[in-house]
């Protein structure tokens, strides 16, 4: 249960104070944003496109793309699991390619096009992979699911472009999505609930439909 502070729950308070960390930018004319309490030069301003929408933000240089998405842009669909690139929960698409958003600095992303789980589809208009994960019950707790889905989108695109994997027998042939290929290509996304068989089924159902 949330702790209660007067009429505000602890959860509301956290959300409210996190909101003040987003520095509203109007005009974005100044290259050196004010950085109260930060050593000089350790903040940066950048513009990037997130889910089709331009965003100009001021960030501490230490901010990862993951923290920018979650803490400043309030796109909390992308999850922080290990924060070390080992679990894949933070997977997003950067210029169409899947990456671990925890291992990229936001300040390295000016001009980038980022797609998160929120940008793939919305209720009533789901991405085929989102619909397939629901139809095939490709999760238990759901924490790894946004990363699994973004990773699967990127993975199917890599397959479409003929990119090989460790499981590809013949480097000269166009790879097809066998069970071995799917498992190898999705190995950067862990599911601690162990919903792998349904995850594989969900991805296969979409890949089969697209072929």
């Amino acid at each position: 249960m949330d702790e209660v502070f007067g009429c505000l729950s602890r959860r509301d308070l956290l959300i409210a104070s996190a909101g003040t960390a987003t520095i509203p930018v109007a005009g974005a004319a100044d290259d050196a944003p004010p950085a109260v309490g930060s050593p000089p030069g350790t903040m940066s301003r950048l513009t990037l496109e997130v889910n089709g929408k331009p965003q100009t933000v001021d960030v501490d240089n230490r901010t990862t793309l993951l923290d920018l998405l979650r803490e400043q842009l309030k796109l909390t669909g992308t999850k922080k699991g290990c924060d070390h690139g080992q679990c894949g929960a933070c997977t997003v698409l950067l210029d169409g390619r899947r990456i671990n958003s925890c291992l990229m600095l936001a300040v390295m992303a000016p001009g980038a096009k980022v797609t998160t789980i929120e940008g793939l589809g919305v209720p009533g208009k789901l991405h085929p992979l989102q619909a397939a994960f629901i139809a095939k019950d490709g999760y238990q707790c759901g924490y790894c699911t946004p990363g699994q889905i973004c990773s699967a989108v990127g993975m199917l695109d890599e397959l479409q472009r003929g990119m090989p994997s460790h499981a590809t027998a013949d480097l000269a042939a166009k790879p097809l999505l066998s069970a071995d290929e799917l498992r190898e290509r999705m190995s950067g996304n862990l599911c601690r609930c162990g919903a792998y068989s349904n995850i594989a089924e969900a991805i296969t159902s979409v890949a089969g439909g697209a072929a």
């Binding site: 940066s44 240089n61 230490r62 894949g88 990456i99 291992l103 480097l171 000269a172 190995s187």
Partner: protein, 318 residues
């Protein structure tokens, strides 16, 4: 993470100069290893120079019939390059055996060479480690050493180099092209690029501070059966216990380098004359003087058997 200032370099020489000016500055490209280490404060740069805008992201055929791989070519793109797949398949195979799809999409050719060891004591900031804190001691000697080096190590450090790509580049006789802060360029043979730990395990490569890798150069392709075989604790997304990069000729001659066994890709050219005599004769020479721990002594027979399997398959293909 410690606060740092940040700049995006526009030319290789500018990037080199920017890092050279400050002892605590670092280049960042993919960031998949550096940023991880910064979160743990194992690396704590005060200034970070982003090199992603330098170009250096093409794979081009060179005049001598070889290949020039830009420092910023991503691991996934290099593995999928048509020329690499056709003429240097050992390199494609090694790249695809490493990391995950997401990491390979960010990790660069130069960054892969410069990644640091995954020795658990290097990552555990509560423990002594000569590589992380020179002079503090080695916790791995007498500690958990199952994944660590069996040869070329020292009393100061028994860490292994984690790269798969570098093992293939060693067998391909790659050269590393660099630019120094004064604009001078040089080529470093891959054999001389990574160092053995000796008394200074914190010094891992031949680069000066501020020296920037601009490309990796491969000589003209070497015919033969190209193989990269990696043995690890799980089927995917794990570091090698032992890996073998090999180019085997129909007569059984060839080149062999091992990963997961030393502080650098392990290749003993002098032993290669004995390759046609089989894996036992070859590994006896290649691993002469090995000093495994009780925990990792299994790596020696594992290396021999992995190579034996490769030679057997290569004979079947020849």
């Amino acid at each position: 993470m410690k606060a740092f200032t940040f700049e995006r370099a526009r030319t290789p020489a500018e990037a080199a100069a920017a890092v050279a000016q400050r002892p605590d500055a670092r280049f960042i490209a993919g960031g998949t290893n550096l940023l991880d280490l910064m979160k743990l404060q194992i690396e704590a740069p005060t200034h970070v120079v982003d090199v992603n805008a330098l170009g250096l992201d093409r794979v081009e055929e060179s005049r001598d019939g070889g290949l020039r791989i830009g420092a910023l070519v991503r691991n996934s793109d290099l593995a999928a390059d048509a020329t690499v797949k056709r003429d240097y398949p050992v390199l494609s195979r090694a790249l695809l055996a490493g990391a995950s799809g997401q990491l390979r999409n960010r990790a660069t050719t130069a960054g892969n060479l410069l990644q640091r060891t995954r020795c658990p004591y290097f990552y555990d900031t509560g423990q002594p480690c000569n590589k992380r804190r020179p002079g503090s001691g080695c916790s791995a000697l007498g500690g958990l050493s199952r994944s660590l080096a069996v040869i070329g190590a020292s009393k100061a450090c028994i860490a292994t180099h984690p790269s798969d790509m570098a093992v293939a580049m060693r067998v391909l006789d790659a050269e590393v092209e660099t630019v120094k802060p004064d604009g001078q360029t040089r080529r470093i043979p891959i054999a001389d690029f990574h160092r053995l730990p000796g008394d200074t395990p914190q010094v891992e490569h031949a680069l000066a501070h501020g020296e920037l890798i601009t490309a990796v150069l491969l000589p003209a392709p070497v015919a033969g059966v190209h193989v990269y075989r990696k043995v690890r604790d799980r089927a995917s997304y794990a570091f090698a216990l032992v890996s073998v990069a090999a180019i085997v000729q129909p007569d059984g001659q060839g080149r062999v380098a091992f990963g997961g066994v030393a502080h650098k890709p392990w290749r003993v050219e002098a032993a290669e004359a004995s390759l046609a005599q089989g894996a036992k004769a070859f590994t006896a020479q290649a691993f002469a003087g090995a000093q495994p721990t009780a925990d990792n002594a299994f790596k020696l027979p594992l290396a021999e058997r992995t190579l034996a399997g490769i030679l057997q398959d290569a004979r079947a293909k020849a």
